[in-house]
């Protein structure tokens, strides 16, 4: 008993080091004034473009000072992978904390272990299990219990974070001309609140607080950019409960497994990554089964489409040696059969996408633009043209996003088959202790479709087009890039062909 007491005392005392210093340094009076121009970058997790548009409609972030753009984020729309891609930080292993490692053919951070990593506070700047992008932010938390508070009482935690972030921003802007911050509660607000009104009001408050900051420091120009890592569909769960995807796989004849090399009772099998409640699934299987599993999984009622890499249609064609090929599967209207609805290639030499003559993209609401040439028997389309053609569809930037989702960009071990679920049919995910995660019932993200994809990009720093590809954030905002480098983030290359479209 005495030993336990002493242990508890030691833990508290060590924690208390930062507690005391936090109060100490923040109680030191600051000098007046500061650099004339301050560049501020605020990352708000999971805020949809529609929420930002609604806030603008209510008078927040008024034009012409502010510009709002649709921010086309990666597929699958999941926070850790997307922030890693935005910030060009060290790729995480999979799309979530829970991931499949092909080197040892096993799933890591399964169940509650992976979930708890979301709320585990880091005890040092360079250690711990956190993804590298966190290091990009000057402000990213308000204490050891920030994660628990954020999931436990999201509403209160969001405003508390807003409070603390502005104290740090106002203070640090006396000394430096740049500041970065990240808040995660906005994502949980979207998952849990019955409508997007709470998020809209939060954005209105943020806008008001920015105006107060400007009024208090008329001698300083605050150039502020706000971005999010994915959208939110605001479609509550349509069936009684979220989808247990493994059960659904079993029904269509795919055995859910935890490793690929073990014995399997069915001919088709795949590893599934469960983790959190999102509208996508990450499946791994052996190369010879990829196409068949992708086509079969598309039969699952909750599935919108499945995507996977495929072999070149005419593998012997020497013109296609520098190409990669991708297919999309979906089911028919009756839901009884599934088929490959589109196959396209990507020519690395020319940064152009290849489609067979007669390829039908109407399923996605996309009309192919005029071809800019061809390769072998295929018509070629520029990345920029396809971005323009697809940006307003329900599958924005479809071809780039499908291609890069299956590449090792911001993730070390990309999926074999990515499943995009229908809105309203999220995967169940793992529950936190006490069922806290079960509050996520009102809106989701992850799928290929627009609502969960389109985040926000709000800025008064520069002009932006109406739709921006999120991969190009650092190229568009070089001061942000410089700041995160100064903060010690090691930059990793993104997709080599991302620039040029949507920036």
């Amino acid at each position: 008993m005495r030993r336990r007491f002493l242990f508890l005392l030691a833990v508290l005392s060590l924690s208390g080091c930062d507690w005391g210093q936090y109060h100490f340094v923040n109680s030191i009076p600051l000098p007046k004034g500061g650099p004339p121009d301050v560049y501020v970058y605020i990352g708000l997790d999971g805020i949809a473009h529609s929420s930002a548009q609604e806030a603008v409609n209510r008078g927040a972030f008024a034009a012409p000072d502010w510009k709002l753009a649709k921010f086309v984020t990666m597929f699958p729309g999941t926070s850790d992978a997307s922030w890693s891609r935005l910030m060009h930080s060290k790729p995480i292993e999979g799309y979530e904390y829970e991931y499949y490692d092909p080197r040892d053919d096993s799933i890591h951070n399964t169940g509650i272990v992976g979930i708890l990593k979301h709320v585990m506070p880091p005890f040092s700047h360079d250690g711990g299990p956190e993804p590298g992008y966190y290091k990009a932010f000057d402000w990213r938390g308000e204490g050891y219990f920030h994660g628990i508070n954020g999931y436990g009482d999201t509403f209160a935690s969001a405003y508390e974070s807003l409070d603390e972030m502005f104290v740090a921003l106002e203070g640090q802007s006396r000394f430096r001309s740049d500041f970065t911050a990240y808040m995660f509660e906005t994502d949980m607000l979207g998952h849990s609140e019955p409508d997007q009104g709470h998020i809209t009001r939060f954005l209105v408050r943020l806008s008001e607080r920015i105006e107060v900051l400007k009024r208090r420091h008329p001698d300083q120009n605050f150039h502020i950019t706000i971005m999010s890592d994915h959208g939110l569909d605001f479609v509550p769960i349509i069936p009684k409960e979220a989808v247990i995807f493994e059960d659904e796989m079993d029904k269509v004849g795919i055995e859910p497994v935890t490793s690929l090399n073990g014995s399997h009772s069915k001919r088709l099998f795949a590893v599934t990554i469960r983790h959190v409640r999102v509208t996508y699934m990450d499946l791994r299987t052996i190369p010879s089964l990829v196409e068949e599993v992708a086509q079969t999984a598309a039969l699952i009622p909750a599935v919108d489409v499945t995507v996977a890499r495929v072999a070149a249609p005419t593998a012997s064609d020497p013109a296609l040696t520098q190409t990669e090929w991708f297919s999309i599967w979906t089911k028919d209207a009756a839901g009884t059969t599934s088929q490959k609805v589109l196959t396209f290639g990507f020519d690395k030499n020319t940064n152009r996408y290849l489609f067979a003559p007669g390829s039908d993209t109407s399923r996605f609401g996309i009309t192919l633009p005029a071809a800019t040439g061809g390769l072998s028997t295929y018509s070629a389309y520029s990345d920029a043209d396809l971005f323009q053609a697809s940006k307003a569809s329900n599958y924005p930037d479809l071809f780039f996003r499908v291609r890069t989702s299956l590449s090792a960009i911001s993730v070390q071990f990309p999926s074999d088959i990515l499943v995009s679920l229908k809105e309203g049919y999220p995967s169940m995910g793992n529950a936190l202790l006490g069922g806290i995660k079960d509050v996520a019932r009102s809106g989701f993200h992850g799928a290929l479709t627009a609502r969960g994809t389109l985040g926000l990009l709000l800025t008064n720093e520069r002009a932006v087009p109406d739709t921006v590809r999120s991969d190009n954030l650092l190229e568009m905002f070089p001061r942000l890039k410089q700041r995160i480098v100064n903060r010690g983030v090691e930059l990793f290359p993104g997709d080599a062909y991302a620039t040029g479209a949507g920036m």
């Binding site: 030191i28 600051l30 204490g143 509403f155 000394f175």
Partner: protein, 271 residues
């Protein structure tokens, strides 16, 4: 829980904590038998009208808890070494003590302080002292927090500076279970990227004693006055036996643009 975002959640928590703390503290104090004052000089001394503290109790509250802006009127008794995480101090001649804040050294802030008793009420109701601290905040100290979930509004990545707060602190025993500690501080700040000058602050701590060894303390402070910077408030618990002290508290710091909050803890031993 109230779901109106127009109400700052911190303020709701704050009011609740204050109301509960006052109620609890008063109830605890009234529920117990009167206990001797912590700072009482001996009756002999009082009778002789000599305002000199001979052998004060070892349970004196000789340190402020909230950093920089709080102190008390009491000093460490002669030849006592009290080592706590918020200050290691040694008493001399019953007139004062000298010390350092050890944890601040871990955060690149060498420091030293001296406190001297100025006056003691012959009736043992109050005591007045002056304290001067000297800090050299080394380059990068403000960013030396171990965990990135704690952030400083100060960024001295490329400069160091000196702080010299001089505080006039008094403690007054309204009842044998109720003490008030007030501190007026003038803080000189010099060098580096800081603005050379003097900032001032005032703090008030209401200490409710219970069961002889335990106290509930309510903290309130203002920094900046006419050039208002922030005000703070908080509540803390203090346990003190003859040889051991433990403190745990929670503080809010409110600026015009926002609020910071967090717990504080300290552990100390009388050696």
């Amino acid at each position: 829980m109230c779901r109106n975002e127009d109400i700052v959640p911190n303020m709701l928590i704050l009011r609740t904590v204050f109301l509960m703390s006052f109620s609890l503290g008063t109830a605890l104090a009234l529920a117990q038998e009167a206990s001797p004052l912590p700072a009482a000089p001996s009756e002999t001394v009082a009778a002789a009208a000599k305002p000199r503290v001979e052998q004060p109790t070892k349970r004196l509250n000789t340190q402020g808890f909230y950093p920089l802006w709080e102190s008390t009127g009491y000093v460490q008794p002669e030849k006592e070494l009290f080592a706590s995480t918020i200050g290691v101090q040694y008493g001399f001649e019953n007139e004062g003590h000298v010390g350092v804040m050890p944890v601040s050294y871990l955060y690149r802030t060498p420091n030293f302080y001296v406190k001297h008793r100025l006056m003691t009420d012959p009736n043992n109701r109050w005591q007045l002292a002056v304290q001067a601290n000297l800090y050299y905040v080394l380059r990068g100290a403000a960013r030396s927090l171990f965990s990135p979930v704690y952030t400083s509004r100060l960024d001295n990545s490329d400069f160091g500076f000196v702080m010299l707060p001089v505080a006039l602190a008094g403690s007054y025993a309204l009842k044998n279970w109720w003490l008030l500690h007030g501190t007026f501080t003038a803080m000189g700040i010099f060098g580096g990227g800081m603005q050379n000058g003097v900032e001032s602050g005032l703090s008030l701590v209401s200490e409710f004693r219970a069961f002889e060894s335990q106290s509930l303390l309510l903290h309130l402070g203002e920094v900046g006055f006419w050039s208002h910077d922030f005000w703070y408030t908080g509540v803390s618990y203090r346990y003190r036996s003859d040889s051991f002290e433990f403190r745990l508290g929670y503080f809010y710091r409110t600026f015009v643009l926002g609020t910071q909050s967090g717990p504080m803890i300290s552990v100390g031993f009388l050696l």
